[in-house]
């Protein structure tokens, strides 16, 4: 057999014909019945099955066979059995007969077969709704447990490894500085640059300092750090906890009497929630430096003018609003990171899904929170 003949058009010469002798259908097979080309169609046989009481095979003209013939015969046998037609396999090669018997040795387990096709629309809507409700209940239970754990932490009654807390603070704080520096600096530059083009038209270059100062402290500092930390730390939390679930490490904690909520989730949550405002403050500062570079380099402002204008524009209120936002963002990111990790399924793809979902949920939650806070702060006149 030529190995190169893999093209579908090179279908092997094979033939099928039928003879009917007193209610016995004899299927005559000849030529090469192999997997080359396509699997032989069963429909022809199926049409002729009605009326027959017995089905037999004549394979004297068969030149070669492999699983192609086997699949064909297995299907025919199954169809015939379903119609209570006797199957006589004495005409097929002994090897084929033994393999078909082997395939039929263990009856199909009815519950093992997954349901064919999609369930009807209403059933799907129902299933999704139940899953959603279950997920919401799970998330609320997690939130409740987390709140209790934080309360115990605040009253020094929580059980966790202080060393873990230090590690997570290190991870969510100092180690994030380089990327926060880069992104914040560029945010400041972009804010200043976009503003500069407009302000230059009516000679208001000096207000670039106000724009950057207010923009960074109120909004951009907190939001930029949130996006970075969601991708960096939130995803890492979800992946760490998801993997620990796969390797049964979380089970080991539970079984040995350590509540995973306090041992695993609490230190991560506390570390990120505490570090976010600090990162935000740092980001504000670096953003303003970025703005100053544009102001001084492009608009010919002096350091002193820029500095004075910045201090005039900035108020403690703006900074506090930004810090409060970053605190909210931090707790949302930590919450979703840990929630998705703990809810993760037990496979490698489930851990990947958990990390993705942690990033998506936390960024969406941060934006939604920002919207709500914008309205609330406006009403409160802050």
């Amino acid at each position: 057999m030529a190995k190169v003949a893999r093209k579908p058009e090179a279908a092997p010469p094979r033939a099928i014909s039928f003879e009917e002798k007193d209610s016995t259908l004899v299927v005559v097979l000849s030529g090469r019945w192999t997997l080359e080309g396509h699997l032989p169609p069963v429909a022809d046989v199926e049409q002729r099955l009605s009326g027959a009481q017995r089905i037999a095979f004549d394979t004297r003209g068969l030149e070669a066979w492999d699983s192609g013939l086997l699949a064909f015969l297995a299907k025919v046998t199954e169809l015939a059995r379903a119609r209570r037609i006797a199957v006589d396999l004495s005409g097929v090669p002994a090897g084929v007969r033994r393999l078909i018997e082997l395939a039929e040795a263990v009856p199909e387990r009815k519950v093992a077969r997954k349901q064919d096709g999609e369930p009807p629309l209403l059933a799907r809507i129902g299933e999704r709704t139940i899953a959603l409700a279950g997920g919401t209940v799970g998330s609320l239970a997690f939130l409740g447990d987390l709140t209790l754990a934080v309360a115990r932490f605040a009253t020094f009654r929580a059980r966790y490894r202080p060393w873990d807390l230090m590690l997570f603070i290190q991870e969510a704080g100092p180690q994030a500085l380089p990327i926060v520096t880069l992104v914040s600096f560029l945010s400041g530059v972009i804010l200043a640059f976009v503003g500069a083009v407009q302000l230059k038209q009516f000679g208001g270059q000096i207000y670039i300092a106000d724009l950057v100062a207010i923009g960074m402290t109120r909004e951009m500092g907190a939001l930029m750090t949130a996006v970075i930390m969601a991708g960096r730390t939130g995803a890492a939390f979800a992946a760490q906890l998801g993997t620990m679930k796969v390797t049964q490490e979380i089970d080991a904690f539970t079984a040995m009497g350590f509540p995973p909520m306090e041992f695993l989730v609490l230190p991560r949550f506390v570390a990120l929630t505490l570090m976010m405002p600090l990162l935000c403050l740092y980001s504000d500062l670096i953003g303003m430096v970025g703005g100053a570079v544009i102001g001084i380099g492009m608009l010919d402002l002096s350091w002193t003018t820029f500095y004075q204008e910045t201090t005039k524009a900035i108020t403690v209120g703006y900074v506090l609003v930004g810090l409060f936002k970053s605190f909210v963002y931090g707790s949302l990111i930590a919450f979703f990171g840990c929630l998705r990790g703990v809810q993760s399924g037990s496979s490698s793809s489930a851990v990947g899904d958990a990390a993705t979902s942690a990033v998506v949920s936390s960024i969406v939650a941060c934006i939604v929170a920002n919207g709500i806070l914008a309205v609330v702060l406006y009403v409160l006149n802050l």
Binding site: R161, Q248, E249, D251, A255, M256, G257, F258
Partner: protein, 264 residues
């Protein structure tokens, strides 16, 4: 509630399972399981793949809630216990998971030390000493500062066993201890389990389908049958091999071979 009221036989009885039904949602894995485990025996939970052996173990160590029924440790009702009571019961048991499940961010000494740190008043130096001793017991002296990812699968299993016996538990739960080990290592682990049972006096509950191991270490056993969804045989494994009326159980214990060949 006293265990005796539930058919236990006093001090010898350690764990009692009453009418336990296990389910995932509406899918019932096993129903109406009833058995008692005596103090100091090696109790085997056997059955084919997917019969719910590991699920049963997860119920026994409180990782899953029974759909119905109760589990007692001595006189304590584990199923109905409140959180503090649960913690108290869990503190007296040790568990080895199928994959070892060592905490991957900690060294072996820290894995064992965490339990001692939290449940005893030992100082760090003493904790380190006890951790070294436990590692030495399972043949891992000198591996204190290795991380789980740096040692082989067999060593992880043994380290997991060292962690399980960290607090000198009264009951030890082992999930497929010999799975994934070569025959020699598996047999050594069996010997280790017997040795620990004898020296610590602990009750050992083993989930396994390794027939060699079942016949070597088992004092008592139950056989879970996936199709019947319940226990179809119980007793000493060797007795079951010789006299079980259930052909399925005999087939399992002889690995489907003629009996003489299986017994060797």
């Amino acid at each position: 509630m006293k265990a005796e009221e539930h058919g236990g036989n006093g001090a010898r009885t350690h764990i009692i399972v009453r009418d336990l039904t296990m389910a995932y949602g509406s899918f019932v894995v096993m129903r109406d399981l009833n058995f008692t485990i005596s103090r100091g025996e090696v109790f085997i939970i056997m059955g084919g793949s997917g019969s719910g052996k590991s699920t049963l173990l997860r119920h026994l160590i409180g990782l899953q809630e029974p759909a119905k029924g109760e589990i007692y440790f001595g006189d304590d009702n584990f199923t109905k216990a409140d959180e503090a009571e649960r913690q108290r019961i869990l503190r007296r048991i040790g568990a080895l998971f199928q994959s070892g499940a060592l905490w991957s961010s900690m060294t072996l000494a820290e894995n064992i030390g965490l339990l001692l740190e939290d449940y005893t008043d030992l100082n760090p130096e003493e904790i380190r000493e006890v951790a070294s001793l436990k590692l030495a017991l399972v043949g891992l002296k000198g591996y204190e500062d290795f991380y789980p990812s740096e040692i082989s699968g067999g060593m992880q299993k043994r380290a997991g066993l060292a962690r399980a016996i960290a607090l000198d538990p009264e009951a030890l739960f082992l999930d497929e201890p010999s799975a994934g080990l070569d025959p020699v290592t598996a047999r050594r682990l069996d010997e280790l389990i017997l040795e620990l049972r004898d020296s610590l006096g602990a009750t050992v509950v083993v989930v396994t389908h390794d027939v060699a191991s079942i016949l070597t270490i088992g004092d008592n056993s139950i056989f879970l049958d996936a199709e019947a969804s319940t226990i179809t045989a119980r007793g000493h494994p060797k007795e079951l091999l010789a006299h079980s009326p259930d052909p399925k159980v005999r087939e399992f214990l002889t690995r489907g071979l003629p009996q003489e060949a299986a017994q060797r």
